[in-house]
């Protein structure tokens, strides 16, 4: 047997064999626009939503929550319209998940008011006694760190200027600290007094959750 006495040739041949399937199913699709189509209806995340997404990643929410509704009857009944590829054009990384210990979140945006999320994140068990979700009340006790917000959105290519990012942050701070904010009471219940005029990590996470599936509804409405 020739190659079993030639380690380098053997390794090269193994690499070639390994790269065939890789090229066809992974490398070539990377260059096909149809793999990840884009739509003008799907907007990138705002700086605050992106910070919320980073907190979602930091806490490993993806280990229990999926973000893909499959085109199955009972799944569409439970969560809403099935997921479309266009929705994920700005997702670096993707957060589809692999185990649904908690419900899918791809259509959670707009499903509940912010107040619901403040209460639920603070203590899932106060709303659903037997839930096994960890409580995340401490997120409301952390001030959101925005020092890298511009660097993050520019790395991700969202096309915001530094000014845009500051405006987005100021705007969201305005929303959640407004006296007329509909979820003011629930927010105050979980947020310490000294942070009530600031954006907390929980505020940002909720901004992200409310964005999920929001734009695709407009896209679907035009079809």
């Amino acid at each position: 047997m020739g190659i079993t006495s030639k380690p380098v040739v053997f390794a090269v041949l193994a690499a070639v064999v390994i790269l065939i399937g890789t090229t066809v199913t992974v490398f070539i699709p990377l260059f096909m626009p149809s793999t990840q189509p884009v739509s003008a209806y799907i907007k990138p995340y705002t700086a605050v939503e992106q910070e919320g997404r980073d907190i979602y990643m930091r806490e490993g929410c993806n280990n229990c929550h999926t973000q893909t509704v499959r085109p199955l009857r009972t799944e569409v009944l439970r969560y809403g319209e099935y997921s479309k590829p266009e929705e994920f054009a700005y997702d670096r990384p993707f957060l589809w998940g692999s185990r649904r210990t908690g419900p899918d979140l791809n259509r959670v945006g707009g499903k509940y008011p912010d107040s619901w999320h403040y209460k639920h994140l603070d203590s899932p068990q106060s709303m659903f006694e037997k839930s096994n979700m960890p409580p995340y009340g401490w997120l409301a006790k952390n001030r959101l760190d925005t020092q890298y917000s511009f660097k993050k959105t520019s790395t991700l290519g969202y096309g915001y200027s530094e000014n845009d990012v500051q405006q987005q942050i100021a705007q969201y701070r305005g929303t959640v600290t407004d006296e007329r904010y509909p979820s003011k009471e629930s927010r105050n219940n979980v947020t310490p007094t000294e942070l009530r005029k600031e954006i907390t990590e929980m505020d940002a996470l909720i901004a992200y959750l409310q964005k999920l599936g929001r734009d695709v509804k407009k896209m679907e409405a035009t079809k």
Partner: protein, 466 residues
Amino acid sequence: MSETSTEQYNFTIVRGFAFSALFWLVIGLIVGLWIAFEMFNPALNLTPWLSFGRLRVVHTNGLGLGFGLAAIFSVSYYILQRLTRIPILFPRLAQVHLYLFNTVIALGALSLFAGMNTTKEYAELEWPLDIGVVVLWVMFAINVFGTLIKRKEKQMYISLWYIISMTVAIAILYIVNNLAIPVTLFKSYSVYAGANDANVEWWYGHNVVGFIFTVPILAMFYYFLPKSTGLPIYSHRLSIVSFWALNFAYLWTGAHHLMLTPLPEWIQTVAIAFSIFLIAPSWGSVVNGYYTLQGNWDQMRSNYLVKFFIAGITFYGLQTLQGPLQGLRTLNAFFHYTDWVVGHVHMGTMGWVTMIISASFYYMIPRITDNELYSVKLANTHFWLILVGQFTWTITMWIAGIQQGAMWKATNPDGSLMYNFLDTVTSLYPYYKLRFAAGVIYFVGILVFVWNLIMTVRKQPSQAVA
């Protein structure tokens, strides 16, 4: 044969990696038990560091990269020296490899506890640690190829083929999937977006299982089964065909993890076809293992190592049948996202991988320390505890998966959903409690294993035979 005596081989490195593996095994299992408890009682989510979302990643990385890789490095360094009949070419480099490995795994665990998590499954480490992993992989590869090139034995045995293909494949997989743009030292974003990122990730995720939890474990199986039974592998030709077919087919199948997602349908369908094909080379090794023992099945009773190998290869056979079937669209629609898949993974890791590594260590450690195994009786206890623990564990999760899958799909006569989501979760708590108990049994088995090996190396070396 006489010119290379055992003394010339570098066994320090083999031993260093073996005990690193045992250390990470115990840590990883403790974390596993902790999160198994959290699944039915969230009170254990005491601090951010101990919350399920962070700990699950410590568990998978601690066992996959910590235990799995350390065991593979240990056995690879052993097999490499025996099959080339020369000592490892760069012993100092191997020593640095060992220190760097444990540093990266320890920092990896800490960073994951702290929430530095890229969220790409089994590739969660942030970019500075990724670079550490690449460096230690290159160190390993230099020793593998250096030693192979200088070898004294002309033909490379099957086990070496598998070590070569692992070395090549993991390098490609790890680098391609982890390409990211750093924002800070602790944060980066994947270069791929959406469906492409998913496709790259599961090409990696599936093949990292293939080339860490299959390929090198087969290398151990092909080496230690004949060694511990005194029987040659049944068919050399079958092992050649299996090897190349497995290496070719594995890389096409990642998308069966993405069934019915927005990934283009053709990629999913190609993955299904190759997954079914993959049964053939997988069973090639299973059949080769079984037939090696033909006429000598009494060794199942008389030789404790054979029990581990045959149970292990049987779980590999079940695993490689179950996997492709789960990949079929209709079955996947039912089973995916449930605990069925969790059961599937753990049959592979707790059954196949751990059993083969256990037997390999039982064979190897006494020989490199010039000792007898401390206790064969304890090894048998270890076998039965992990067998019962693993079987109870996986069967419980399969049933839980079937139940939740059925509840998700159940509708009332008017077409509305029969169960809200929380009902489908709380109905699993009895299974989660049983799973935790099974995990404890398994863990006790592993403690017996670790104890047995510690006592083996602590014994005074037996007087050298003249």
